[in-house]
């Protein structure tokens, strides 16, 4: 299997680089990387889903807003997502359905808290496959 994502070191925080054959896949893998930082996704089942629709001025902003929307749902509703079906993605618009499960302390071990995705070191690149990079404040 192709590499989905990797962790990028940063002194205070954690960055991720995610890959895909399409930008949809790279965005989905970035979301998967985010929740892998939070918990072990193997223990998470697909029980609930949430739909997200976003509009942003450019694709880089769209990536940050996509991840921040997921962080918001995790914090407000305690849902861990593990699978992401991005049905629409262009430079300014994203539509997705994300599947996961509410946090269950008898089953899920939360590793780290993620405060937000930032615009620092932000990259969306299509030159060699699709690749995105983002830094989280943890």
């Amino acid at each position: 299997m192709e590499k989905e994502f990797e962790i990028v070191d940063h002194t205070a925080d954690v960055g991720i680089r995610a890959y895909g054959t399409s930008m949809n896949q790279a965005f989905a893998n970035a979301a998967k990387a985010l929740f892998s930082l939070i918990t072990e996704l193997d223990n998470v089942d697909e029980v609930v889903y949430r739909d997200i629709e976003l509009v942003a001025p450019d694709q880089e902003s769209l990536l940050v807003e996509w991840l921040n929307e997921l962080i918001y749902i995790f914090d407000a509703e305690n849902i861990i997502f593990k699978r992401f079906n991005i049905t629409q993605l262009n430079n300014t618009r994203l539509k997705a359905r994300s599947y996961g499960e509410k946090v269950d302390s008898s089953k899920h071990k939360l590793k780290i808290g993620v405060k937000a995705a930032t615009y620092h070191m932000l990259k969306v690149d299509k030159t060699n496959g699709c690749q995105v990079q983002v830094l989280f404040d943890i």
Binding site: H10, T11, V14, E60, I71, D75, S105, K115, H120, D137
Partner: protein, 505 residues
């Protein structure tokens, strides 16, 4: 071999290093780093020069783009940075405050000694751990409606006091009396409120902690006495937390909104995370009003936790609060932007002082210093990394002249969190602390052990990431940081305390 920063930095003296405006085209003021020569090696490796230089691009910045000795690589702004901009024609940047708005420190004193507390430390740590919700996804014991939350956002610590959490004296010795003026809940998104409601009254996770400490060294006896610190061996309680998910969402919302404003106002920036708007613009004012809400949320949070600390000690020692002498020394915030006045070229000007990982350090006699401290100056509380030591210092006139009344806020990281985790396991960290006589109870350990016992995760030790990330090895030595601020004169060292018990998320 010459150090790599030679030819870039201009040495002013042993503790001050200037990054000239020629370092990067677009800097409108120079950078000024407070550090010892030994510390520069870390700072150099960490791309901090770039970030200090980038902050110098902000329209309306005055003085220098300042770096305290605990400076480290952030996102946009460095952590440990101070930047003052003119209110008249300068900008405000949410990134210059950070996601954890009004992350801060509160210090309480007791009249207990180490000898009295040691025999009961396990019991005390257990009681504090039960009473104060901590850890990821933890929910508070306080249930507020959105209407009540709006009152929290407007009133700050006073709301907690009205609900019976704390003493009137606590507010007197809290920065801004625990309430930043101008808070307007209408400028806060419903998303921020949704994140904030369940988390009110929680310690959180990450680098936040609560410590039972013992006074270890006193450098200025008179100043210590004025703060109720009488002798070595006296027990103190330190609380380090902020505005939780509420503040994170306020920052997220306004980085996005001000990112759009940057284009409207024709501002050019080297890093998008520096997104900003003129202080006087509608966007800038909206952010200030929302930020004040988050600051007030954080003070309420620390005020409620203070109350539960008192309840825990009263229970464990079977003595009244008064008999225990459980009083607040001070409460500071170290992620904030404040409108303050400073003389610029001989003329008083209103400035927006961004302190991101920096503590206000006002001198004796300053009108914002409470009466009890008017002869000594504002207490500055500097927590070290978890399990090392923390310092109590005072603001100075030098800070007013050089750093817009600011000094350091903590230890500052030298190692990435991921690297710290690879090298150390949570269980090892806990064991090492216990060997040094420090009892730790972390939600990450408790929950990992519970899951391992039921066979859900195979090795509890591998799952204690959060604790390993906060190991001492990941931080600069806070002693070195505090000594630089003391020698440079931007704060005055009073006392040092070492932990004997730690509660962590």
């Amino acid at each position: 071999m010459p150090a790599p920063w030679q030819g870039i930095l201009k040495k002013i003296d042993d503790y001050r290093w200037e990054i000239p405006t020629s370092y990067k085209v677009g800097m409108s003021v120079s950078g000024l780093i407070y550090a010892s020569e030994a510390m520069l090696a870390h700072i150099w490796q960490d791309q901090v020069f770039q970030q200090v230089a980038n902050v110098a691009f902000l329209p309306g910045i005055v003085g220098h783009s300042l770096a305290m000795p605990d400076i480290h690589w952030g996102y946009g702004f460095p952590i440990g940075g101070v930047a003052a901009t003119r209110v008249k024609d300068g900008v405000i940047s949410p990134g210059g405050v950070g996601f954890d708005i009004n992350c801060g420190v509160r210090l309480l004193r007791t009249n207990l000694t180490e000898d009295e507390v040691r025999p009961k430390i396990r019991q005390l740590v257990d009681e504090l751990f039960v009473n104060i919700p901590s850890g990821l996804g933890s929910e508070g014991k306080i249930r507020v409606s959105e209407k009540e939350l709006n009152e929290v956002l407007i009133k700050g610590s006073r709301w907690a006091l009205e609900k019976g959490y704390g003493e009137a004296e606590d507010i007197i010795v809290t920065e801004e009396s625990g309430c930043l003026k101008g808070a307007n809940p209408d400028k806060v998104s419903s998303k921020a409120k949704k994140r904030g409601i369940p988390q009110l009254g929680t310690l959180g996770s990450g680098n936040h902690f609560l410590e039972v400490e013992v006074v270890d060294e006193i450098y200025d006896r008179d100043a210590a006495k004025a703060m109720g610190i009488k002798d070595i061996g006296q027990v103190l309680i330190l609380i380090h937390t902020g505005s939780r998910g509420f503040g994170h969402e306020v920052c997220t919302d306004y980085v996005r909104l001000l990112g759009e404003a940057v284009k409207r106002y024709g501002i050019s920036l080297p890093d998008r995370q520096l997104a900003c708007a003129p202080v006087s613009s509608p966007e800038g004012q909206d952010y200030l009003q929302a930020m004040a809400c988050a600051a007030n949320y954080a003070w309420t949070n620390r005020q409620c936790i203070t109350h539960w600390v008192r309840e825990s000690l009263v229970k464990v020692f079977s003595k009244s609060q008064r008999a225990l002498g459980l009083e607040q020394i001070y409460d500071v915030c170290h992620n904030i932007a404040k409108i303050e006045e400073y003389p610029i070229n001989g003329k008083k000007q209103r400035l927006c002082v961004h302190r991101k990982g920096a503590t206000r350090a006002f001198p004796a006699g300053h009108p914002d210093v409470p009466d009890v401290y008017k002869d000594i100056g504002q207490p500055v509380l500097i927590p070290g990394d978890m399990g090392r030591c923390s310092y109590i210092a005072l603001g100075t006139e030098t800070a007013m002249k050089e750093t817009f009344g600011s000094t350091c806020h903590g230890a500052g990281r030298v190692q990435s969190r991921a690297a710290a985790k690879r090298g150390l396991r949570g269980a090892d960290v806990a064991r090492a602390l216990e060997q040094r006589g420090i009892i730790i109870k972390a939600e990450s350990i408790v929950s990992a052990k519970a899951l391992a016992a039921r066979g859900i995760i195979s090795k509890a030790e591998d799952m204690m990431g959060s604790l390993a990330e906060e190991a001492s090895e990941a931080y600069k030595d806070v002693t070195e940081v505090v000594n630089v601020t003391d020698k440079a004169g931007i704060s005055h060292k009073v006392a040092k305390a070492v932990p004997i018990g730690v509660i962590k998320g």
